[in-house]
């Protein structure tokens, strides 16, 4: 059967992961960093699903990706709540400026 080779999925996922890492490092904004983290989690899911293609009976990779999505949803809600709280306290969204425990 002639399908897309596994390596191509892995290359796309690696590219997305590295771009997400660069976004997370570069952006000086809490929400910009969250965008990068979401992109990295998606790239990891592509890897899991690409390997799960060869496991049609159990689909372990797809189940793992499902749990990754659940954890990502929980993570982003809590992170946004913390960001809103920090913004209310420091009035900034720059991670470099939030360097004190107490204002």
């Amino acid at each position: 059967m002639n399908t897309i080779p596994l390596e191509h999925y892995l290359f796309v996922a690696a590219a997305l992961f590295c771009i997400g890492l660069a976004i997370t490092i570069t952006k000086r904004h809490f929400i910009g960093m969250l965008l990068g983290i979401e992109l990295m989690l998606n790239a990891v899911n592509i890897n899991l699903i690409a390997f799960s293609r060869y496991d049609p009976e159990k689909l372990s990779g797809q189940l793992f990706a499902l749990f990754v999505i659940v954890v990502a949803a929980a993570e982003v809600t809590v992170a946004l709540a913390i960001i809103l709280r920090v913004f209310g306290h420091y009035n900034t969204v720059d991670p470099d400026k939030v360097s004190d425990l107490k204002k």
Binding site: T3, A14, L34, L84
Partner: protein, 177 residues
């Protein structure tokens, strides 16, 4: 012929996802970045479909696009600076330090070269056969209710805890008043 169609769809959706990810990286406006992330999520969902994960693709669109992205855009709107009286011509601008840009570029490209070397060097021995075109929903449902029941319940507890914690954190904005 079918393979050619599949390859064309795969490469176009990969290019869509990677191009919108690069747009987020180079865009200085965070709202544009959030909308580009929407395109990237759609491209990734299409890749899931091409890899035979139809349920995961629908979940991706519902959870990421319907939930997480809307939440992120809400977060961008709620963290606007309220004190500037002049209407800025470049709203949501994110400053980028040149040193940070160099560090990000080096880390990203270095990791990409490293991962690419590993992928090219690896020889994956795949035993099972490639997934057929049947729907995966039945398998996922059976597996979730049998061998993955404990992670399933833990995920439910985790979501409840995240809901309560996020509501508590975000509700009590200013405890001094």
């Amino acid at each position: 012929m079918i393979f050619k169609m599949e390859a064309a769809a795969f490469y176009s959706f990969s290019i869509l996802a990677i191009a919108s990810a690069l747009f987020i990286l180079f865009s200085r406006n965070l709202i544009y970045g959030a909308f580009a992330l929407f395109l990237a999520f759609l491209g990734v969902a299409a890749l899931y479909v091409l890899a035979g994960a139809d349920f995961l693709a629908v979940t991706q669109i519902m959870v990421y696009v319907g939930g997480i992205l809307v939440l992120l855009i809400f977060g961008i709107m709620l963290t606007q600076k309220a004190n500037n009286n002049t209407v800025s011509d470049t709203p949501n601008k994110v400053e980028v330090l040149p040193s940070r840009e160099i560090a990000g570029f080096l880390a990203g490209s270095g990791l990409f070269l490293f991962l690419g070397y590993i992928i090219l060097d690896a020889r994956f021995a795949m035993q099972g056969e490639v997934i057929s075109s049947n729907s995966t929903i039945r398998t996922i449902g059976v597996e979730l209710m049998t061998s993955h029941l404990l992670p399933f319940e833990i995920a439910a507890i985790l979501l409840l805890v995240a809901l309560v914690g996020a509501a508590y954190l975000a509700l009590n904005r200013n405890p001094a008043q």
